[in-house]
Point group: C2
């Protein structure tokens, strides 16, 4: 990146009948730029803050004189009547930024920051006649210079990069054009999946916000946010694979690149660095490997990509293991190693070993940490030969079959047969050792004691295996799926969403780890962990219960719960990681909005399971599962270069079942719309019944 | 530590003639407790904040339920009319803590924090008749419970520790008694050195604040402060040794313990971990060793301890190398290894190799870092066989001779002779290769180019070698000392103190490192680095120039510059690390107060070099060097169990020189007052002239 900027087009209009005198103040804090880089050297940063001022542009050049060759700037497209660059001077001694001295007295001080916390503030005095409007364009920018041409004169930044950027946004018309272009970009992206239904919340979330959040989580994973300091932990292997499920339809090319990046952090035995840094694309050594669900998520991501794009060439891409080019193998081989990793890491009940943890990072069955400050996942033995996960077993059946299908599609019948055999066996292991009578067990601990069983004093039932086993089809024929989901409803459901477990742990258990460190009702200890609510909703669609699936969707849908914002607290258009459970002091209060796998899984749920538009290897499959009162709805879906206009009619108000589909007026057999070469539009009518 | 607390005894008096209704609000932020522990897991912390409320006491028990067995609390000794424990609720949405909603509306909300940021606030409504006074005792406490007895009932903290503490401070009279006890403690400590002179600034700083700051820096080193985040870098080997020079007279027993701790981090070859963590007392592996001045500071610290206490038994203490008990040797052997480390690490000019850096951590002659974010001291080759330090040469002469004297005192004539020979040779090396014509050179870089020479374009003269070489006596006889100090005055002096170098570096030099990364006038790049101003002042006393020595003392003395607080900015009773130099935008502005080696070195300067009370192996030596106008002064010094009452008369206003000393009415020969067994008071009259 050479340069980038953010623009703010401000219009001020005098709607009164009297002339108005206004002093307008802008304010930007540059000060965090360095701190992020080096939290422990804050003391150094206090001395190195430097700015330059040139007309209405304030340049921040902290550290620029030495090894850094980029600078930032803040400008406005009109002459200014004052400026400040020293935070202390602008705010005044002891003030927070609610009432800066300069604003209160309507007088910037012209301060030049040297050390401490450089800011940028402009003062613009203006008068507005009745009805008059004035416009301003503020630009906050970033530029890099080549090392050998970084100075204009000794000690003075070379600024042509900034000048060029400012010239692009010097007038309100230019700003408007830029925003129009941005709108066009998003309209194009979001138009890849739209719905018109009778439910305004579904329309709003699907058409705008859910997809937008999918893009944000794809870009950031959990790597940097309001809620983490510094560059944090980087991208999660598991997280990024899941985020991709809700993003792949938006920009498949970027999903492809991401898959190859992720796969390159995999080890030769199929396991993976649990996290990697997005800039270096290298795995984080301090956390390392041993989260035994990780490998299987790679299959999930690749399957989603293949179904979206039909681009099987990705399987032939030669990808390193452990970022070492000399260990490179085709991506298909990576998937095989993912599959094999579970096969070779089974415990006493032939269920998958859990390792440091599975999806539930806080269920630490091999750790036994007693000391404050120790990481719960990597202290002590951490991995062990006994503790098993029924959740991973469910994943293995689902994604092992997915792997078999990929092999089938590519003619690798040897792998296909091996995968089908292994998933068959795992299916049986779950029935034999993973069923607790009314629901699926969660795990066996390091002493082979049951976790998530009616035999437990606390934590008798967990959400994850109920969702994933049913999504994998386990127990559907045997009638266990319905039982499990009924148990979820009976034991885990609340009006604000489905809790992750019940009863909450009321004390710390050395054999369970971090999960029992949270107060009851929070986070993994019986909070409503939004991420796996859609799993249950999808599972309900597997057994055809559209009313219940949609009820679950609505409970955590931000738009649906806007009217209880004083309870819910986070933004009414974004999913949060967690909502406090029934045991919590503030039941219904959400925490940690934006960066959560909830975005992707909810989009999978609403778009594929509920509205029923399912990309498949050979085309688009349509199989809605809706509430009986949902009515008809219309979808537009861009898929493999074509646009599908899909009208779904449901005259009898059935919850699931497609009685007929016509494509461009012709009835087709089944519910898969095959891809026809050269065709750019498909007009589809779907009749439920 | 089982329990501790801080008390605040508040008195409110109505001095008006009308009755007053008052709502009093207290406020404490508990929220940083966890963040310090785990900055990167802030997201977790948002969910685990928990409190308990019991009468007027608010308990903070975040993380208590799991691995932590301590809690904190905030209480007041009267019934309250309201409380809050949720920061958001108390402050109100979007407010900073300048105008909390609860205070504005005079109504606490009774909020119970669950997650987010627990605080404690009490509301006390009171009415005061004219002239009436009411008193309150607020207690902020910390308690630990044994793990097996941490609960009173399920989920409820066992609180007897807090109750016991609160009972000790339940009444205003108890609070007063506690404060009286604290005063007594400090009076006792500070009475170990007091002066009554005609200069109020000297009296104030010597009798109170300089000693107080010496205590603080001894306790904290640079390990945790306003200016560093987290537990930071721990205790510095070099820093802690120097801090001890200003502390050893206060509590020699603690100095002894610290010396043994520090020595235990030394490696077998005499080098040392540059930093160690105070709680584990282990060296920091990430920084490691290679700061080639470090070993010599250990000699400085031990010599100061021996002179203060006469306790030579410390030299026989068997102390590990590298914290490995199997490598333990007597402390004297540690000192010998310190001395030998320099002898075995000489460069092409027979001057000491500089390693990663010497005292000036930012002069990185072996690093060559080009990438932002890289540490300047440990990147690249870092240590090298060429770059040499004239500063370490000066140190070696000074502390090598000190080591020889220690050996002399203990009869180790073999070591003594070896040390005298080596310091003799080093003295000659400095004359041969360390003198630049008008001042001492600073160093030779990795290409054997001169640093701090008239031949340089920038950075022609540095302060450190001028101070340390003259303090070591180098060039005094040859007339070089006077020349060097005159050059300091001519080239480095400003009205706010002496700059570390001139001319400032205006660009980044790969061969110099971090020093050239700072803007001109800041920190090591031509800032007034307060730490080595006293070195020049002491050096001036070596050649007898009391006027100049005191002028230097006054320039950075916080009390002397209180009247320019709007320029100086930091507290007018505490030394700061740095004052911006003449090249800086805000010349005279100080940064980073409290934790700086300036405290100790200034106390050494004022107490030993200027006021002239010098602990020596065989007694107290009196050798003042004062301005001619300073007049007579009186000192009280506790030393080895006795109290010395010392009147210094200076009828002719000489700057240096003692013409006679009487002890208890008897004239003694020379200026050393020998220790007399069993004597508890010495009444001393010193005549300068």
């Amino acid at each position: 990146m050479d340069a980038a900027c953010e623009i703010n087009h401000l219009k001020l209009k005098n709607t009164s009948s009297a002339k108005k005198q206004i002093s307008l103040f802008s304010y930007v804090e540059f000060c965090l730029w360095n701190a992020i880089d080096d939290m422990n050297n804050f003391q150094r940063n206090l001395s190195i803050g430097e700015v330059e001022i040139e007309g209405s542009t304030i340049y921040h050049k902290t550290e620029y004189r030495e090894r850094r060759n980029h600078y930032s700037f803040f400008s406005v497209n009109v002459p200014v009547d004052g400026f400040d660059t020293s935070r202390d001077v602008f705010l005044g001694a002891g003030n927070g930024n609610a009432i800066p001295d300069a604003v209160r007295e309507k007088k910037c001080r012209g301060s030049v920051a040297s050390g401490w916390y450089p800011i940028a503030s402009h003062q613009i005095n203006l008068s507005l006649a009745p009805g008059e409007e004035k416009e301003f364009v503020f630009v906050l920018g970033y530029c890099e210079n080549p090392e050998e041409e970084k100075w204009e004169s000794p000690g003075v930044i070379r600024k042509d990069g900034a000048h060029a950027l400012l010239a692009r946004f010097a007038t309100p018309r230019q700003a408007e054009a830029a925003f129009a272009q941005l709108n066009e970009y998003w309209d194009g992206l979001l138009s890849r999946f739209t719905v018109e239904s009778g439910n305004e919340h579904v329309n709003r979330m699907v058409n705008i916000w859910n997809q937008y959040q999918c893009m944000v989580t794809f870009n950031m994973s959990r790597s940097a946010s309001y809620y983490e300091s510094g560059t944090g932990r980087g991208m999660g292997f598991r997280d990024s694979c899941q985020d991709l499920l809700g993003f792949v339809h938006l920009i498949p090319e970027r999903a492809r690149e991401r898959i190859l990046d992720i796969a390159a952090t995999q080890f030769e035995d199929g396991s993976a660095y649990h996290q990697y840094q997005p800039l270096t694309k290298k795995g984080n050594l301090d956390i390392g490997s041993g989260f035994n669900d990780d490998p299987l998520w790679l299959i999930a991501a690749v399957a989603a990509y293949l179904k979206e794009t039909g681009d099987f060439s990705i399987l032939d891409e030669v990808v390193p293991f452990d970022n070492r080019p000399e260990l490179a193998q085709p991506l298909l081989e990576h998937l095989y190693r993912s599959f094999r990793y579970t096969c070779t890491h089974l415990g006493p009940h032939k269920l998958p070993l859990i390792g440091r943890a599975d999806w539930n990072d806080c269920l630490n069955l091999n750790c036994f940490s007693k000391e404050p400050g120790e990481p719960f996942q990597t202290t002590g033995p951490s991995e062990g030969p006994v503790a098993e996960s029924v959740f991973i077993a469910g994943m293995f059946v689902k994604y092992g079959r997915e792997f078999a299908e990929i092999c089938h599609q590519t003619g690798r019948t040897d792998y296909e047969e091996e995968a089908l055999r292994a998933t068959e066996q795992m299916y049986q292991s779950v029935l034999d050792a993973g069923w607790d009578g009314e629901w699926f067990l969660r795990a066996y601990d390091a002493s082979s004691e049951k976790i998530g069983s009616k035999e437990c004093r606390e934590g008798q039932i967990y959400i994850e295996p109920q969702g994933f086993c049913v999504m994998a089809g386990i127990g559907v024929e045997e009638g266990l799926a319905e039982k499990a989901l009924d148990s979820v409803k009976e034991r885990l459901d609340t009006k604000y969403g489905i809790m992750i477990l019940q009863p909450a742990y009321t004390q710390y258990y050395l054999n369970l780890g971090e999960i029992s460190s949270y107060p009851p009702g929070y986070k993994e200890n019986a909070g409503i962990f939004c991420h796996n609510n859609p799993w249950i909703s999808i599972a309900e669609t597997v057994i055809g219960r559209g009313d219940r699936a949609f009820e679950i969707y609505e409970k955590t849908c931000p738009s649906c719960i806007e009217h209880i914002s004083e309870i819910h607290r986070t933004e009414p258009y974004v999913y949060s990681q967690m909502i406090a459970g029934a045991d919590a002091f503030y039941h219904g209060e959400a925490k940690n909005s934006w960066l959560t796998g909830t975005a992707a899984w909810t989009f999978v749920n609403i778009s594929q399971a509920i509205l029923g538009v399912q990309p498949d290897y050979d085309g688009l499959r349509i199989d809605p599962c809706v509430p009986s009162s949902f009515g008809s709805f219309r979808l537009i879906r861009k898929f493999r270069g074509s646009t599908y206009y899909i009208d779904v009619e449901n005259p009898d108000g059935v919850q699931k079942g497609v009685s007929g589909i016509s494509v461009d007026g012709k009835e087709i057999a089944g519910n898969l719309i095959p891809v026809e070469a050269g065709k750019t539009e498909y007009h589809v009518t779907v009749r439920m019944g």
